[in-house]
């Protein structure tokens, strides 16, 4: 493949190009209308809104107004979302739940909120660009560009100081200095474990072989976590630039992004970004005239949760079954094809450029001493404002759930928050004031994980939640080691028995013992952490386990075998439930209260969902 001569070959050209791009943008654009075009936005219907905006812009014949397709703004609760920015003053207004019919009003209004539309408070600041004058709870370092620039246009990234960190590293620093800077910043792996990134890099840097690899782990498999997808869809260049910096730091020429095939939009944007970066000369041979070569390839994951584990991921790239291997040797010593390899998560990489641009000292001022910086969380479940948030480490759970998330849906009681996905645990109501970082979460019996936060209310049964996670692990266990393959199967059987009301107190003890054995003996991180949801729910919600076992009741009314359906006096005798019942177990005369035959009932819930009069009780 022949590539045309790169556009930028030294640092002076980058400086000039950046200045030119900025001037051109601010000259042409007075009002910038940002349209959120992430996967969620598109699924919620952004495309027709975009079309309507373009049409009304043409119809109103305004100059200086530009429409930009941006990545996720993190406001999933109000998609489709649009932000209108005055480029000169930086003033902006964010609209939520926008419809195509609103387009005309939005274009006409500028940055003065248009009437009749849902306006959303921003709630975050950008530590790199401004002071936190509004006392915003969120600080966006990783999500700095997501929702602000067009991810498919490298010039917009360059205007945001893009590729300056790479330029600085290549021309002004030695690999050892880069490793030292990252080590000094205290950046820890954002994929879950929290291993210091700088130390990982220093291991690989110290290795002799000439061939080394940088792998970006974008195999985001934790159910309930979608921050990596949002970063890659909203700001792919930040990750590419950081991979090149990592390559320089450890002495690697090749980078690989291992990404889930289930993320088609992220893949497409990455491909565009890689192509543009090569054209500009930020990837390829002799970058910035420094003599350093680096290029990046994509590999698509084929759908295996265990491939998020670094040794399994490497096996998968080599074309094998994605089974983990025993560590040591660590990948930083012998990884892909037996060569030194670093595997870092998408979010970890997304921090690197900001650290290089602003220095380790700047980064350490945000967050806590043990866990500097910010963390992106995906808030989901029974919460009013579902979304993607980025907060400084050390923010309390209460602030996240009640401040940013605006509390529990339908005025229900908060019961627990699940963090860390299938490897994590649940945190209870009385621990809401805990400030979160890597270490406090482990103390609470959970873990950071990749950052999924599922909020649960009084209607959720914790035994059933534990069983749900085990079902997931069972399905995803690679089957290599016995504790994980068979142990989890037995755990799942015991939990199923409990949810059916067929267990005794001995089961509870066995559950505890087996969980401990699996934790101690499984081969990889997935196996060792797989009993975590069981252990954590047993410790925090023992009363629910006891209610299932001793009283044969599911307090939340979730476990189908332990609930009964009945009809109360609200029944008008409309006979809709009777018609829809698949086993014909509802009887009654027209216009009189009906009765459910509990013996014949299969507890499918069809009557409950079809009744318009709140006449079906589920207990």
């Amino acid at each position: 493949m022949t590539v045309a001569k790169p556009i930028i070959t030294n640092s002076a050209q980058l400086t000039e190009f950046t200045a030119q791009t900025r001037t051109r943008m601010s000259d042409v654009t007075k009002i910038n209308i940002l349209v959120s075009m992430g996967t969620c936005g598109i699924a919620a219907g952004t495309t027709p809104v975009l079309k309507a905006l373009e049409e009304s812009l043409a119809a109103q014949n305004l100059t200086g107004v530009k429409i930009t397709r941006v990545g996720c703004m993190g406001l999933c609760h109000s998609e489709p979302t649009i932000e209108v920015v005055d480029t000169a003053s930086g003033k902006s207004v964010i609209y939520g739940n926008v419809k195509a019919s609103h387009a005309e009003a939005i274009v006409a209004a500028g940055v003065h909120p248009a009437e009749g539309l849902k306006v959303i408070e921003r709630g975050w600041y950008y530590p790199e660009d401004e002071e936190n004058t509004q006392d915003a709870p969120q600080a966006r370092i990783v999500l700095r560009n997501s929702g602000r620039i067009n991810p498919e246009d490298i010039q917009e990234y360059i205007a945001q100081s893009g590729y300056q960190a790479l330029c600085k590293v290549l021309l002004e620093m030695s690999p050892k200095q880069v490793v030292a800077e990252i080590t000094d910043s205290g950046l820890r792996g954002r994929g879950g474990g929290g291993f210091p990134t700088g130390r990982k890099w220093s291991f690989a840097n110290a290795q002799k072989p000439k061939e080394k690899y940088v792998i970006c782990n974008a195999d985001e498999g934790d159910p309930g976590a979608f921050m990596d997808r949002a970063i890659l869809e909203g700001d792919p260049h930040a990750v590419l630039e950081a991979m090149a910096i990592a390559g320089f730091a450890i002495g690697a020429k090749n980078g690989i992004v291992y990404i889930r095939a289930e993320y088609p939009l992220a893949i497409e944007r990455l491909q565009i970004a890689i192509h543009q970066a090569r054209e500009m000369g930020f990837l390829g041979k002799n970058i910035f005239g420094s003599g350093f070569d680096f290029d990046i390839d994509l590999k698509f994951g084929a759908g295996a949760f265990v491939c998020g584990e670094e040794t399994a991921l490497i096996a998968s790239i080599e074309g094998k079954r994605g089974e983990p291997t025993y560590k040591p040797p660590f990948p930083a010593i012998a990884g892909l094809w037996g060569k030194p390899t670093i595997v870092n998560n998408v979010e970890t990489f997304a921090n690197v450029c900001a650290i290089i641009r602003n220095g380790a000292g700047w980064f350490k001022r945000i967050g806590t001493t043990g866990s500097p910086g910010t963390k992106v969380f995906a808030l989901a479940g029974k919460i009013n404002q579902v979304g993607l948030i980025e907060v400084p480490m050390g923010t309390s759970l209460r602030e996240i759930i009640y401040g940013i998330g605006k509390g529990i849906r339908n005025g229900k009681q908060f019961k627990a928050v699940q963090t860390g996905g299938p490897s994590g645990g649940c945190i209870k109501r009385d621990q809401l004031d805990t400030t979160i970082d890597y270490d406090t979460l482990v103390l609470l019996g959970s873990m950071m994980g990749s950052g999924g936060m599922i909020i649960m209310d009084e209607d959720d049964c914790m035994v059933s939640v534990a069983r749900f996670f085990l079902e997931f692990t069972l399905d995803e266990s690679c089957g290599k080691c016995t504790p994980c393959r068979i142990g989890n199967k037995r755990l799942h059987e015991m939990l199923t028995k409990i949810t059916q009301g067929k267990a005794d107190m001995q089961t509870l003890q066995k559950l505890r013992d087996l969980s401990a054995s699996i934790k101690d003996t499984a081969l990889c991180g997935l196996g060792q952490s797989s009993p975590n949801p069981v252990r954590s729910t047993m410790n925090q919600f023992e009363d629910e386990y006891l209610a299932h076992i001793l009283e044969g009741k599911c307090p939340a009314g979730v476990c189908a075998d332990l609930v009964t359906y009945s009809i109360n006096e609200n029944c008008t005798g409309c006979a809709v439930c009777k018609k829809r019942c698949p086993v014909d177990c509802i009887r009654g005369e027209k216009k009189s209260v009906h009765v459910i035959d509990a013996e014949a009932c299969i507890k499918c819930g069809m009557c409950l969902s079809s009744c318009k009069f709140n006449a079906i009780d589920r207990k």
């Binding site: 289930e262 074309g319 996670f469 499918c604 819930g605």
Partner: protein, 161 residues
């Protein structure tokens, strides 16, 4: 015979391929043929000089690969945690009941197939399903029946035209 030609065409894109090209080849073949047929697997094995058993060993390990053709409308139900706490199992059960098939199966007329997939990362829209890649968000059980009916109706109207 058509499959063979398609696989051949894909293999020409992988010159001097080694073991690490196996998964990308399998992905491309499934993309183009819809699933991995026995013939396709044998053909790939011959090309890469790998025993068929090894290829099945790899292919069955990953969730992405299918060994049966999917239906005309492929329904994927997300089993992520957010979808679970918002009632995705009810939605899934309704699909099973209405279509009379289970996870990984295709209806006899080849019209629908059903698959439970790991989190598709649209937790803000939970519970969510995708039909041929098109998202349907914030579903309740009855929406499942409605969606099936709509597709059946559309198919019928198409027949009458």
């Amino acid at each position: 015979m058509e499959t063979q030609a398609k696989v051949d065409e894909i293999l020409t894109r992988y010159k001097d391929a080694k073991r690490d090209a196996l998964i990308p080849i399998l992905q491309d073949v499934q993309d183009s043929c819809g699933y991995l047929s026995k013939e396709a697997v044998i053909q790939i094995g011959a090309y890469l000089n790998l025993p068929t058993s090894k290829i099945y060993g790899v292919a069955t390990f990953y969730n992405q690969f299918r060994f049966q053709p999917v239906g005309q409308h492929h329904i994927q139900v997300c089993r992520g945690t957010a979808c679970h706490v918002k009632g995705s199992s009810g939605v899934f059960d309704r699909f099973c009941r209405d279509l009379k098939i289970n996870d990984g199966e295709t209806t006899r007329d080849g019209m629908f197939s059903l698959e439970v997939v790991s989190c598709i990362g649209a937790c803000g829209l939970a519970p969510v399903i995708a039909v041929n890649g098109e998202f349907h968000a914030k579903l309740v059980d009855d929406d499942a029946s409605r969606i099936v009916k709509e597709y059946k109706k559309a198919a019928k109207e198409g027949d009458n035209k």
